[in-house]
């Protein structure tokens, strides 16, 4: 069968790869370059330390990188993950954390050399694991530890009161100030408010533009497939307050819009579209290719859209658009306090991952349904992720809702960062059944990438 659409590789893809490797390189060299090296989680308001010359080892993507090692070097992966188990951490705990702890306990940095020594941990807790994760890390490393408490907004349909929202803003703002003073005290370095303000602006730009990129993917044929999206969204996860990342997303958006204009497809055979939820099994992304052999392209996931995206709810249309940045709203940031307020409000009102963890019910269902409609989705694939119970929140309810609505839905149990809990043969078999139930025929034989 000949191709339905023309396709072409994404030009900015290599640049994305370089920026990512640079960031990990900077982490390895942070010490000799005299920078602070900070450990923490991806949702940790990573713009806060922008006021210092620093590098940040962000836990979740680092865990994912370890899981990916399984492909080339299963023995090394097993050593790492079992080091955490032998230390007594049960196997049903967050797989990112277990991989991270294993690498720390073995003193093996996955990009080479010993595990870089952190100056302190700065973390923000929004799921049950994060604040304990870095408590354990700082105990093992005997380093100072600060953890913000992030209490997210409820979903808009819950009709949370303005006073409650203000309380949540204030709670985070005062903790941001607390954190900055604590960091200055612990590190003995002075905090540069100008850099901090810039970091916050970049954070807003990066995430807002990422949302625009996701929205561009509503086009048929889709300019991006999820496998590509996953290698782009990660930059925001590890470096959204950085200038190079903010600039990269603007460049990326331009190219994606150009692809839309010229009907350049990610999958030349696109005949049906799916979205997924929760992180994928990072070491086994091949299943996306199996879908493509049936002409099925995954156009995104609530997870990758939300974790790197700034989304603004439109109460009239009852849908989500790319959030308008402070610049676009004409808000000026002059002081540390301004920046803290903007950062807190941005995180609370435009992030949808954390509220999905705390409030998974009607709100998360509404968001998924909105994606199904706006991205022209024919089927939904839910990864029941044994490795991350936070992103698994509400998934079974979503499955029920989709069934009621008559949208084909498939679930598969797996783990985003522990290959021992992902059964590829059985998952492929389920995908084949799913394709059969969607009445889709395989277009070409699927060969597993080496």
């Amino acid at each position: 069968m000949e191709q339905k659409y023309k396709t072409a590789p994404l030009r900015c893809w290599n640049k994305a790869k370089d920026i990512r490797m640079n960031i990990y390189q900077e982490i390895a060299e942070a010490k000799e370059k005299g920078k602070l090296l900070i450990g923490g989680g991806a949702e940790s308001l990573i713009a806060i330390p922008s006021g210092f010359e620093h590098a940040m080892l962000v836990g979740e993507p680092y865990g994912a990188a370890i899981a990916y090692v399984y492909r080339e070097n299963p023995e090394l992966y097993m050593q790492i993950v079992e080091a955490a188990e032998h230390a007594g951490y049960p196997r049903d705990l967050c797989a990112y954390m277990r991989d991270y702890l294993g690498s720390l306990l073995l003193n093996k940095y996955i990009f080479g050399g010993p595990f870089p020594h952190l100056d302190f941990c700065l973390q923000a807790g929004f799921c049950d694991t994060h604040s304990k994760w870095y408590q354990i890390v700082s105990e093992i490393e005997k380093i100072p530890y600060f953890s913000l408490d992030l209490v997210p907004f409820d979903w808009e349909i819950a009709g949370e009161s303005e006073k409650t929202k203000q309380l949540k803003r204030d709670y985070i703002v005062s903790q941001i100030h607390e954190a900055i003073e604590w960091m200055e005290k612990t590190s003995g370095r002075t905090f540069d408010d100008e850099k901090f303000i810039q970091g916050v602006m970049n954070e807003c730009d990066s995430t807002s533009v990422w949302a625009k990129i996701c929205i561009a993917n509503r086009a048929i044929p889709a300019p991006l497939d999820e496998k590509t999206i996953l290698s782009l969204y990660v930059l925001a996860v590890i470096g959204r307050p950085r200038q190079d990342v903010a600039d990269f997303y603007k460049e990326c958006l331009a190219e994606v819009e150009e692809r839309v204009a010229n009907e350049i497809a990610a999958c030349p055979y696109e005949t049906a579209r799916i979205i997924t939820d929760s992180q994928p099994p990072w070491f086994a992304l091949d299943f996306f290719r199996l879908f493509e052999s049936y002409g099925v392209v995954s156009v995104g996931a609530h997870y990758s859209f939300a974790l790197s995206g700034g989304w603004e709810y439109d109460p009239v249309e009852k849908t989500w658009n790319a959030a308008r940045t402070p610049r676009e709203r004409g808000i000026e940031i002059k002081t540390r306090d301004d920046a803290a307020k903007v950062l807190a409000d941005w995180w609370l009102s435009t992030g949808t991952v954390c509220r999905g963890v705390r409030h998974s019910g009607a709100g998360k269902i509404q968001r998924i349904m909105d994606m199904v409609d706006k991205w022209h989705v024919d089927g939904v694939v839910l990864h029941l992720n044994r490795g991350c119970e936070g992103t698994s929140m509400g998934q079974m309810e979503i499955m029920q809702a989709l069934q009621k609505r008559g949208t084909p839905v498939m679930t598969f149990e797996g783990n985003h960062a522990d290959p021992r809990e992902y059964d590829e043969q059985r998952t492929f078999a389920r995908i084949q059944s799913f394709m059969e139930t969607m009445d889709l025929k395989q277009i070409y034989e699927f060969k597993k990438e080496k």
């Binding site: 007594g88 694991t129 604040s131 913000l148 309380l167 709670y171 044994r386 929140m393 079974m396 309810e397």
Partner: protein, 375 residues
Amino acid sequence: MIKDFVDIYQNRHAYAKEWKRKHPDSKVVGYMCSYLPEELFYAAGLLPVRILGSHEPQNVTEPYVFGMYCPFSRDVLAQGLQGRYDYIDAVATAYPCMHLGQAFDSWTIHVTQKYFYVDMPNRVQTPYAFPFLAGRLEETKREIEEWIGKEISASDLKTAIEVYNENRSLLRQIYELRKAEDVPLTGTECMHITTANLFMDKKDANKLLKDTIEKELSGRKAKTADDSRLMIVGSENDDIKFLEMVERFSAVIVNDDHCTGSRYFWNNVEMENGAIESIARRYLARPVCPQRDYPERLRLPHLLQMAKDWGAQGIIFLQQKFCDPHELDKVAILNFFKEQGIPTLYLELDVTVPLGQFRIRVEALLEQLREDDIW
């Protein structure tokens, strides 16, 4: 009397329905986490009842809850889906943990639409948690007033606080009695009391507690000095069957750190100028649940103090299968007690307990504790 508590534990729903019959123009609120400030609801003339599982195998929750979530959260939701709490008018919780949070979300979708949600902060160790929680409780108070259509007066609050403080002090008294060499009541009996108390109007409970202390427990010897003294630590636990099994041996459970046990009542509300503020301070200062125990580990000294004061020779760490918060504390706690030279046993609770597999572990622990006997 103890048997009354046993009766209420077994017929919890009958009790609540009877209460509703006696208070026709009042409402019942089912709640899911011990961090919920019950005083606010009680002050409004409502009856807060804790929602607990029934320890029966079930699969009605299967369509709504991911298999990795703890058996307790599933068991809790199952009660709602099976209509056992059909008499409650609203469901409430303070932010508990993800698994119980899922049970709560599903409950509001399939069982009880009217709900109250309190954003209980996790970082109880920062001074900024106080203004946040206090403000949040003011909001909750307002939401309750809107619901029942009348104001909660300062004196309502004051009385509620007094009733709950008395309840806590009485339970504390009973725990004090367990320090004795010949313990006046078994851990099983005590668990019946503390758990039944969760379903009761605290005015009734206080009467019953007083009677039990004065008329039944004084001079009573349920266990003797030869029995090994154990403390149980962990997540939600009202697993009577397990405690019965343990205490059938020459052993007695003398104290606990469970949210349905000591964590529920350990500290009182210290009345300051504002009632709401005082309540907020109490919930921030109470013995923590693991996910709120950071950056400092405040649980460790607290647990050790309890073990010392109640003369616990061994500790059974009982945790709901898949309970992340407790699994995240497990390593630190087990290592800590190892350094203290206090033997521990780590067990995972499920909806029903595999007694066959647990018995031998418990027996082996007890053999370990009995220096003189077989060694």
